[in-house]
Amino acid sequence: MSAVIQRPVAGATPKPARDFTFIQPAGRRLTEYEALTVHQQPDANGYDMAGGGRFGPEAFLLRSDGSTLWKDDSTRLRHPDWYRYRDPAQHWQRTYIRHQEQQETAIERATEDAGLNGTLAALNADWVGKVLSKHWRAWSHFEYAIFRTLCPAQREALGDTLSTMLCFQSFDHLRHAQDIVVYLVELERYNKAVDDAAGRKAWMEDPCYQPSRRLAEHIINTADWGELMVGLNLVVGPLLQQIALSAIVRGNAGANGDDVASQIIVTTERDRRRNLAATEAFVRMVTEPSLAEAGANRAVIGEWIVEWTGYARDAAKALAPVFATVPNGRETFEAAYAKASADMAAVHAGLGFSDAGAA
């Protein structure tokens, strides 16, 4: 496959390489991310069988149902070498955890300061009760669904750089779900308007959230890891999370004096941008014009964008009444929806899918 043993042949310099020689770097030099990530996942179809052997690809222990450990049809997309994928963020565990630790420390300090300087006590009861306790807390279930589904997705992904990126993405969403809960617990100390049970009740019963819950159930049920990357990061993020989180919560937090909620969502937006960039790189890789499978992959991705846009639009439109419950609301649903739709369309257009997600 892509990995080439870059060993000098006879007559070349006798000086030994003092770095890994088994990875084909994407750029001129091997990065730390590549060195610690690429070719951790065995590739029975090529990389692990240099020299070929008499029988070629082998499987030491098949799954209980007789299938191989990794399956080409775990996604409808096809690529001759999944190991070529590189996460543009170049995160490996240390850089990723450092990034999240910095974000969490910033949130923790902001919460502590806002508690001690009276900001949390002064928050508007409607903001705390209707937006934070009900809407945002309901949304914690949606974030949890994404965490859940990306765990099996990383298991099935057909390369190590993909799996690792999906692990981090999964962690992003549980972090967000937990941050909502932790903030409300801390807010309870200062503000009596917190009603933690309101979120779950809304999630299960309020018509505003039922299309979102339907989508969350679909997300958990989706097995195709390529589809999840496309659906979650090219559609759900730019459209639905943009409205549910960025427009409703972060967009109105400032007007309601809630710097902490704003801070938390800013960190999730940063994660969302990272995951969007990772998915854009992925889509470009599988639709690269020189690839024989590019046309078929493009058709599949187009199909997914249309299907997921349908789900996401239903879920987003159902949130329209929530805008009316926000105190000091700065934006109408229509404006937020139009902006999110335009931004999503721009993302799709950038990847050559101009019409796929049109409503």
Partner: protein, 518 residues
């Protein structure tokens, strides 16, 4: 947050699950086990605390390695005998971590219990951490060790190496089975029984041999393992609390133990006993303490009230412990041209240590090692595998040479089944095959894959040649003045043969011990 708020937050993050209304819930990894929805939470970690904890540990580990250890050139001062085995051992441990990451991804889907799910996510991230840490250690050694060749390409070679490829059937079991069976393989057996011997005791050997990089990495890894053991115990206790699960649990536990023992005991024992220069304890002693007393005597004992007994192969495994790995290292040394490390001959001082720790060792293995020491000069063109009148076949299930419990007392049996001839090293492996023969349909042994290859051809095709384009990575000594080249190997005209072909079907052949050098 005060402690009450922390408890409240923790209770609430368990409450993210809901009953599906719009689609029937799909199990991506169906399990045959019944899992109670409520369990005791093994650890109360929020993502925020987890990030802080891991960042602190990362800073300590990577800081130490990149700062004083590198400046003091410590890796280059470590025992060469010890450093060499890390070329083969570390790509194996790294894959164990990667396989564990896959296992925990499955568990998040399968175990319908929010508190365990979040514990598994932390473990999944830990396993990414450990994969990166151990890959970093290998790269660090490629940069700083006296002989980098082998460290630079271990991940590439491990799949084609006669010994390291045997890691796959054991470690693949973390995520190739029913997800709970995978958890039993990973958390209950591999992590709880074997991570202490690997990540704690082995670091003592490393440190005693001047290697501080491995302990710095491994002890940081091990600091996460206590949480994983707790995850495993919580999973096991939850499953064992449902009486309907017990027959399956015992069966899966039996199988998991045999799979992990088959590889891990030989692997760890070999690294432990044969590559110490400044000698301390033996693997037999470490095994008795950590696996015999702590795991079997305490951990598994606590499961007895649930009806869980010691695994089926326990007594057979126990009998293999004093001798099994000696035979594997003998095979490793006998086939040194296909290895990716230099194998230092044992000295009379080593012989004394082995005889003290394993009474009777010299009578069984002494003559081989004496012969091995005399065969290091390429001018003589002798490869120790020629000492063996009969090369042992490789087991279809565990992929290890069939040399257990001892070469001269091998429990190997040859069988014909499903249109192929198989060697099984033991009753345990034959039993695993009989339970699920379809799972080995694409399992080939190293001899089957490379039968007919001329040895120098294998060495060339598998990238076992150094940067000068002619000298082998593998060498039969640490002597820089007597390095073998691929031309030396070509002159031996040795061809890889599959020993299974010459063995009669449906029998239990007695393997012939190696001849001493005349």
């Amino acid at each position: 947050m005060d402690s009450n708020e922390f408890i409240r937050a923790h209770d609430r993050v368990k409450d993210f699950e809901w009953e599906f209304s719009y689609e029937p819930k799909r199990a991506h990894y169906p399990t045959n086990y019944k899992i109670p929805k409520k369990t005791s939470d093994p650890f109360r970690h929020l993502v925020r605390d987890y990030c802080k904890m891991e960042r602190d540990k990362d800073d300590r580990q990577y800081g130490a390695m990149s700062d004083v250890m590198a400046r003091a050139k410590m890796p280059a001062k470590a025992s060469e005998r010890w450093t060499e085995i890390l070329k083969m051992a570390l790509p194996v441990t790294t894959y164990a971590e990667y396989a564990a990451m896959k296992c925990t991804g499955q568990l998040v889907d399968s175990v319908d219990n929010a508190e365990l799910r979040q514990g598994y996510l932390a473990q999944m991230m830990d396993e990414v951490r450990h994969t990166n840490q151990e890959a970093h250690l290998i790269r660090y050694l490629a940069k700083h060790a006296r002989d980098p060749e082998g460290f630079d390409r271990g991940f590439k070679i491990r799949g084609q190496n006669m010994i390291t490829r045997a890691a796959r059937p054991a470690l693949d079991a973390f995520f190739a089975c029913d997800p709970i069976e995978g958890a039993i393989n990973l958390q209950v057996v591999a992590e709880t029984a074997y991570t202490n011997p690997i990540f704690v005791t082995l670091t003592e050997v490393a440190a005693a041999n001047g290697d501080e990089a491995t302990p710095t990495t491994f002890l940081s890894v091990q600091s996460d393992e206590a949480r994983h053991m707790a995850n495993g115990y919580a999973t096991l206790a939850a499953i064992a609390s449902v009486p309907d699960n017990l027959p399956r649990l015992q069966r899966d536990f039996d199988n998991a133990f045999w799979r992990q023992h088959s590889f891990l005991d030989s692997f760890i024992g070999s690294v432990y006993d044969y590559f110490q220069e400044n000698r301390g304890g033996s693997y037999h002693e470490a095994w008795t303490e950590w696996v015999g007393n702590d795991w079997a005597g305490s951990y598994i004992e606590r499961l007895k009230p649930f009806g869980v007994e010691l695994p089926r192969g326990w007594e057979e495994a126990k009998a293999r412990i004093p001798w099994g790995h000696h035979n594997i290292v003998m095979m490793l040394a006998a086939t040194w041209p296909v290895q990716f490390m230099r194998i230092d001959p044992l000295t009379p001082r080593d012989f004394e240590w082995f005889e003290k720790k394993y009474p009777g060792w010299y009578a069984l293995y002494g003559s081989f090692w004496e012969a091995y020491a005399k065969m290091g000069d390429p001018k003589d063109g002798q490869i120790p595998i020629t000492l063996f009148p009969q090369v042992p076949p490789i087991c279809r299930v565990c992929q290890m040479p069939c040399v257990f419990p001892r070469f001269d007392q091998s429990t190997v049996r040859i069988r014909e089944a499903d249109g192929r001839k198989h060697a099984f090293c033991s009753d345990g492996c034959e039993h695993l095959y009989a339970l699920e023969p379809h799972r080995y349909a694409k399992a080939y042994t190293w001899f089957e894959q490379y039968e007919g290859y001329e040895l120098s051809q294998f060495v060339r095709e598998c990238g076992l040649i150094r940067a000068d384009g002619k000298t082998l990575i593998g060498q039969p000594s640490l002597n820089w003045d007597k390095m073998w080249t691929v031309d030396d190997i070509a002159r031996t005209k040795i061809e890889i043969e599959n020993p299974l072909r010459k063995l009669p079907a449906d029998g239990a052949p007695r393997l012939l011990a190696p001849r001493t050098l005349q």
